[in-house]
Symmetry: C2
Subunit: 208 residues, 2 copies
Amino acid sequence: MITSPSSLRRSERSRRATLDAALELCTERGYGRVTVEAIAARAGVSKKTIYRWWPSKGAVLLEAFAEVFVNATPFVDTGDIDADLRTHVTGAVKLLSTPPYGPAYAGILTELHHDDVLGRAVREDVVGPRFEAAVGRMRRAQEQGQIPAGADLPLAVEMIYGPVYYRLVLRKPPQDEETVAALVAHVLRSLRAVPADPAVDAPAATGG
Amino acid sequence: MITSPSSLRRSERSRRATLDAALELCTERGYGRVTVEAIAARAGVSKKTIYRWWPSKGAVLLEAFAEVFVNATPFVDTGDIDADLRTHVTGAVKLLSTPPYGPAYAGILTELHHDDVLGRAVREDVVGPRFEAAVGRMRRAQEQGQIPAGADLPLAVEMIYGPVYYRLVLRKPPQDEETVAALVAHVLRSLRAVPADPAVDAPAATGG
């Protein structure tokens, strides 16, 4: 099929209307009561149009959530890894405390236990790239000498995100700014207290 | 109603049969397809008997899960907090990787987003006491001088449990023993790198 510029424009309008409708319905009814039928009716598109682009309502809501989440929680680089991680995690916690985003993501985390396609989309399209971005930001901090060379960055990212997920899935009150600051400080201290790994340092010493 | 010793014995037999039936059905069908009706039929008790003791299938499975989980992951005290936390977390990760326990708990975490009674039961009857037990074990390590006096123990417990939940709810592969060891080592290092809090140390200095 050849897509003309006008059909592409129409697609983007429908996509936007679909995502907005899904988030609105999630706010009004809660994740469990959102249906593809209701999204289609609210967005003014056909169910067929929705299913052409997304396999399920979970996939629609994942795209809607991820778009807002990625914009709301950039990995800034002010040259201060402590401050930048605090900024990032505080933004994430705040968004996850805001309906419909937190409940929508909790709903998606629920559904991925029954929906392998959605589970893959969550891990590969959303969590994976965010995880890599977090590791990337910490790697720059390593290059700037703020984190030791041998530090286990993927472990650090899990130590930061883990407690946020923990509270979200248990429906405990989310972290406040002070708790986020303590969390980030502890994770960075744990990396800085690790003696640099000679195996990791050696090539840098020979190559540099 | 006066309960005679024989009716109490019968109750314990029914309770045991109900919990076993729920776990068996969870293994065979997956959490989502377990019903109170099927549990009753398998256990040889009436639905009314089940509803006299538990408000939902989630509550039955929570009790079945928690009983096994608590027994499988004691907070031992060999005098070595690093080793004891590794033992505890490794036990937890292994159980959560074993059907039906991991999938059952993931199902319970799913359901608590729609079921406030179950959510409270998870937080107050299972997670809360386990959390306190973990803090208690670390407090003994503090008294033994293995963790500094001013350390933020509740934060440490979230840093340990968080990554375990993170992988469970995202359906990522669970931690292996090496990763558990690295996680525990990092969390303890983060506490030991924290300068002792003068406000916390002061009373001990005056009182001791």
